[in-house]
Amino acid sequence: MFEGIFTGFQVAFSLEGLVFVFIGALTGTLIGMIPGLGPITAIAVMIPITYGMDPAFAMLLMAGVYYGAAYGGAASSILLNAPGESMSVPTTFDGYPMAKQGKAGKALAIAAIASFVGGTISVVLLTLFAPFLARLALSFGPAEYFALMLMGLMMISSFSEGSTVKALISATLGFMIATIGIDLQTGTRRFTFGNANLLEGIDFLVIALGLFAMAEVSSLIFERRQSGNYTSKLGSLRLNGEEVKEMTGPTLRQSLVGFVIGVLPGAGGTIASFLSYITEKRISKRPHEFGKGSIAGLAAPEAANNGASTGSFVPLLSLGIPGSGTTAVMLGALIVLGVQPGPLLMNEHPEIFWGVIASMYIGNVILLILNLPLIPYLSRILKIPRPMLISLIIVFCVIGVYGIGFNTFDLYLLVFFGIIGYFMAYFRFPAAPMLLAFILGDLMEQSLRQALTISNGSLWIFVEKPIAFSLLLISFLTFIVPLIRNWRRKQLTKKLERNG
């Protein structure tokens, strides 16, 4: 293992490694700052740049974008009260009030330090935990893989905001889109409508950029007039001893919580940051300060969401299974580069496995440096006029998609999925389960059929194998438990109403 870490640091500390981590972290921060644009868009827009790059360096770049976007999201939450995505919503609760009190600089400093601590604690745990899980996963057969992926999908659906039925519909549709193209086992053409462009299926970048970036662009269009009015006076970034003392406890606690939640499939940053905010408020000695500019209330969600962002790399790197929409895009990026993540990654491509992990130590330091002294300059990106920003984002989406197959058919598909993404957002269908199901779809179908080939068509294989069976049981429960709880709550309210 130490040999692996050593290889990783060699990659990450090479000149190119440092440059790519820096570029990634910087772009991630900048894109993440723009309200409405989240990490999925940030990563997807950067993917075309990595075509033809060495996969190890490409991954360093993407990882930099990924956690850079998590840092950047805090800035727009604090300065504009406009979170880039749901995971930085709790940051606005206390960050924006602080900015209004003229303490924007302090708020940014607290967010940056809490993010740094969350990210760093999490990466240490990732270093210890990922290889262990990868070794365990080596014994997994197709039945276990299928069950594991199903569990990830079920969990992301039951954890997503709003109706679980809608989330499951999104996931099913995503899986259906994945079945388009030539079937790998039999060579049958499925749902191609005789169109040669669909033989290889739809590229994940089309879906990711369409469902997320293009749909986000349309909401930016509606809000195009709200640019530029942010507090440009940041005030001092310096924290005094008392403030540091107040943030220490919540930051350390919630970094750990964030990591654990991040490792769970389907959970991720949003749940981590909300949960951490609620728990800190509950255990705080001064809960009345929460929502009015509490330091603990700002530090907790930032530590937790960065902890979770890093934690979700555990299943991605060791099992090859993303637990969230964002890591699903990372998986897609890896596959584009010709790398299949999974338990074998650690042994077959130690430079990628350990390079990414090592780069996160450096990335967090770079981000702290970027975010503390440079934040007043970086936050100027918020001044770019919205109309210009909108057209530039569309151009980046178009370039990215064109680079996949060099034909305009994919571009029309991009627009098509942009429209679907827009309607999904309008009718409150979460898009992340669709993206995750689309990316896992192929693998899930292959492993299901392999498992059934082994068992000669008998479904008993999923019951006989203890790991597969317990994973399936968990996925079943994550779906059933909320339904029963809802139903019982309804019964209770009915009873209460009846009794007056």
Binding site: L168, T179, T186, T188, I394, V395, V398, V415, R428
Partner: protein, 148 residues
């Protein structure tokens, strides 16, 4: 009958699921595998069918956002039109010219008033991207009418 949005969407999804199942059943059979290529799609179709029935009976428990004013819908449709024209021109006139025109017109249409900086951005951004992609990243973008 279809009062809420959920019910309309549910019916639409049920029709989709149904046609998907039909299309899956009609896939050619391949006799040498225990699980043929239609098994997963057929199951997915039925899952979607069940979910759409569930959706039909689920209440819309969130308040619908304020309806968008007609003018805003027009804005987004016209912007969509610009994107489609951009894609059509993409391979014909080439990346640089199509992109320059797209940025210029779309930014102006969405309310960017400063002509001078709009022109500067519209010309410099596509040129820089083009050179970056074709020279450094070795990814070809359509050259179109330009000589380089």
């Amino acid at each position: 009958m279809f009062k809420s949005a959920n019910k309309k969407i549910a019916v639409f999804l049920a029709i989709l699921a149904f046609s998907y199942i039909i299309a899956s059943i009609r896939l050619p059979a391949y006799p040498y595998v225990p699980v043929d290529s239609d098994a997963v799609p057929i199951s997915l179709g039925f899952i979607l069918l069940i979910l759409s029935i569930l959706l039909f009976f689920v209440k819309d428990n969130h308040q619908r956002d304020k309806k968008l004013p007609k003018k805003e819908i027009a804005v987004i449709l016209i912007a969509l039109g610009f994107v489609l024209v951009y894609i059509m021109l993409f391979e014909i006139v080439g990346f640089v010219i199509a992109t320059a025109l797209f940025i210029l017109t779309t930014s102006r249409f969405l309310g960017y008033r400063n002509w001078l900086s709009n022109v500067i951005v519209s010309i410099s951004v596509p040129l820089v991207i083009y050179l970056l992609f074709t020279q450094f990243l070795k990814i070809q973008l359509p050259q179109g009418l330009l000589p380089f």
